[in-house]
Structures are given as structure tokens and as C-alpha cells.
Amino acid sequence: MNELTNAEVFEGLITGLYTTVGRRTSQSFAVAVIDAIVRALESRYDFLRFVRLNIEDGSEKAIIDTDLNSVDSSTLGKAAEAIIQIMCMDLKDRAGFYFINEFKDNAGGAVVSGLKDIGVDLDMLKIQQHYLFRQSKRIKTKPVVARGHKKKLQEEKNLLNYSWDNVSSWDYDSNRKICIIYGKDGNVLDQLNLDEIVKDYISSLTETEQPSTDYKRETKEKSLKL
């Protein structure tokens, strides 16, 4: 039996999402997008007015009014499920394959158990998320990169003499603004210019994604007909 109150479960939900989303985007983005989703759902679930995010300082600490504790648990569960679901859908490719697993790790056992008790079906959310992730991989033809960098990235890719498989670890040097990449044998594989990478990243985060022009599958996959 769950020992957490509704307010505690919701606090854990927001913190778990904040960490999981923040790792994929940025802390400000995580707070802003969680808040946008909660506010959008407020028109359906009036009690979400008791949940406030700290937009100003981008902190993960949500302000949860204890009035939430008097809300019917199953209705609260539907709202919680909708928040996680929309989050996955909003992040699209950025959510990746392990979003739900990672969210569970970040939220912690007690909160995950509390969410299940109020009817949140995390297994179903995982199946749904995996389907959408694979679909996006299947119909995606070109990676989304910041405008103007596409050609450069392609050129770099052709010149790179190592792949992700060979990367073992990396270290940051704040003074020199570089990131040193090491291979599995301990040798330096590469040195990345951090300024350039951060600039690319912020541009890609704030730039509008280009729409896909053709929804049809570009290439037919190999398949097994059942």
C-alpha cells in the first residue's frame, strides 16, 4: 500500500520528469515544458492549479498545495499519466528509447509505486513510447541539426577515424574550453571545441524543427511476412 500522499507523489513525478527531461534538453527547458503541459491540462483537471513550477529560477522544486491530497486518486492518476504521456510526445526523438526506464530511476521506487497505486500504467506508456520512437527512426531520413551546420557535420563525419563504439570516456578542461575523448585503450581519440558544441546545441534547441515533407516510407525495410 502506498504511504505517500498525493502531494508527495506529484512532487516526485515533477522531480523525476525534471531530471529526465533536463538531461535531454536543459534545466530551463525542462521546467518550461513541464509547466506548459500542466497548465494545458488544467482545463481538464482543475486540481492541477495546486501544482506550480518554479519558472523564474528554473529550479526542480515544484510547489504543491496540500489541497491536492483531497483529490480522488484515480482522477489524479489519469492526470499524472497524461502529463508523462504528453512529455514523451513533446520530446519526440529527444525522448529516446529509455525515457520511461530513466524516469522510473529518477523518480525512485516509492514514487513509482505511488504512481502505480493511483492507476498510472507505466508499462503501457513504455510500449507506446517505444512504438513512437521506432516510428520516428523509421520515417526519419535526415538528422535534425542546426541550420548551416549540416554540411560541416557531414564533412566531419567523413573524416572521423573513430566511431561511438570506440569511445570509452571523456574529460572536460574548463580553462581551455575543450573536451578530450578517450578510446578503450586509454589513448586520446579526439579533442572537441566546447564553445562550438554549446553554440550548436543552443541553436538546435531553440530553432524550429524542419517539417518532414514526405510522410511515406522513403525506403522499404526488409521484413518477415507473418
Binding site: 538531461r23 536543459s26 530551463s28 527547458f29 518550461a32 515544458v33 506548459a36 494545458a40 489519469k78 497524461a82 504521456q85 504528453i86 510526445m89 513533446d90 529516446g96 528509447f97 529509455y98 526506464n101 530513466e102 500504467d121 508499462d123 503501457m124 510500449i127 507506446q128 517505444h130 512504438y131 513512437l132 521506432r134 516510428q135 527512426k137 523509421r138 538528422p143 541539426v145 563525419k157 566511431s163 561511438w164 563504439d165 571523456w170 572536460y172 574548463s174 574550453k177 573536451c179 572537441l192 566546447l194 558544441i197 554549446v198 553554440k199 546545441y201 543552443i202 534547441l205 531553440t206 524550429t208 518532414s212 510522410y215 511515406k216 526488409k222 521484413s223 518477415l224 511476412k225 507473418l226
Partner: protein, 297 residues
Amino acid sequence: MSKLENSDILRAIFQALYITAGRRTTRGFAIAVLGAITKTLEQRYNFLKEIRFHTEGSSVEAISIGSKVNSVDPFIVGKAVEVIVQVVYMDLKEKAGFYFVKELESNAGEVVISELKDIGVDLELLQIQQHYLYRRQSRAKGVAGKGAAGKQLDNVSLLGYSWKNVSTWKYDAENKICTVYGKDGKMLDRLDLDMIVKNYISSLTEDAASILKEKHFEDIKKIELTEKEVELLKIIQKQDIDFETAVFMLRVSENEVKYMVQGLLTFGFLQYISSNEVAITEIGIEYLKKKGIVKTA
């Protein structure tokens, strides 16, 4: 008050989805997407096995539903319907448009909509969800800010800054954080350096690479497949094949191949791409590579 059976409700909603999605893509594509989604969700909702899609016809008659679904708790059917509608409009992405749920309701008809509400399908929630996503996906500047779509919710609006407002940034190597400052000297954001570097290297090397560095992929690597399962994965990766040929090539029974496919679907190594076709996933490909079964490019 009319009381429709589960099979009537499911038939009606699938037909309505078929028409609504088909109008936005093609009818053949709509049936393939509906089939793939339904087969995928069978893992969670076993009764969906009773729904068959006949891809030859590409018409509303192409969906048949077994009467066994009528013995399922209607609220579970309702939950499955909600999930299917959600996945269909997500799959359609921007092609779903602003009025997808409204049009779906209109195509399903009042009686079916009323029954759906009775079995717990929250169409209002689906509409709010879809409208939110539409506003997030709207790309034409100004369009989302006016009329029915409401307030614009692109990434710049959400974040409150864009690259133009960034003045400087500082690295914190110990905490692996990059703090970004605006032109007024105030902190705009904090970025996770590990994630940025990982994404950057992945974009330079191979598309599926990021999956391998996720700690959860370690669990997948531990999975030990049988020789025949590996052989089946390799066959599917290399060529188009029908069920009978797979049975012949693997020299096993039909049931054994069915069992293997089920197992590989559960591990996420295979996925449905229509109601009667499975393809290898990027996880399956990476698994073969990681195990040294297929050479890395």
C-alpha cells in the same frame, strides 16, 4: 438508450480512425499504421488479437473483429481505444492537424461517441492533448498565435531566450555543467555537458549510437538469444521473407518460429510495421553488432 457491444464500438472507432487518418495520408497507409499499432499494443491488451486487418482490400470492410472481445471488461476496451487514438495522431505528426479528434468524433457518430464516454474514453482529454501538441509542432510563425490554435508554444517561447539573447557561458568541469548567461548578465540556463557531448559525437558517427551508451542498453546486451533466434534476426535483416520460407530456412516448426517472433518482439528486437509484417529494430541491429554477430560498419 442503445447499448453497443465491444466489437461494435471497436469496429466503429477503427473505421472512423481509418477514414480520419486515411484522409490525411492514403487509405493503404492508414490501414498499415492501424495494423502496426494494434499488433504492438497486443502486448498490453491481449484482446486486440481478435482484430484482423486485411490489407488487400484497403476499405472499411478490411477490418474484422472476433466476438471474443465482447467478454472483455468495457473499461479496459475504453483504455485501449484511448491509447490507439493517441498513438495514431502522434504517428501522423503535423499531418494530424488541429481538428483530428473533432473529425474522428464526427466520423464515429454520436451513438458511438456517447458509448465511448460511458466506457471511460476521455475525448476531451485527447483533444486537449492533441491541441497542445499541435501548438508545439506548429511551425508557420503567427499561425499558432492566432485563431483556434491559441498561444504559440515553440521552443523559444517556452525557454524565453534564443541564441540571439545569449551573451556568454561558463563551464563547470567538476559538475559537468555549462551555465548560459544573457546580455543583462542574468543566468539563462544550465546545460548538461555530458548529454551535449554524447549527442554531438553520435551526430558525427552513427544514428543509433546513442542507444549503446545509455546505461539501460547494458540490460539488453545481457540477453542471450538462442542460435535459431539469432539466425532469424539475421535473415530478417538481410532479406524480405515470408513465414513459410523462414520456417524452411530455420528447419523448425511453425509454432517455434511464432514463439521466436513473440520473444524477439518482447525484447524490442523486432517491431510490427503493419498488421502482418515485422522488421528488425535498431536495437536488434545494435544487439547483433555488439555481440559480434554482424560486423560494425
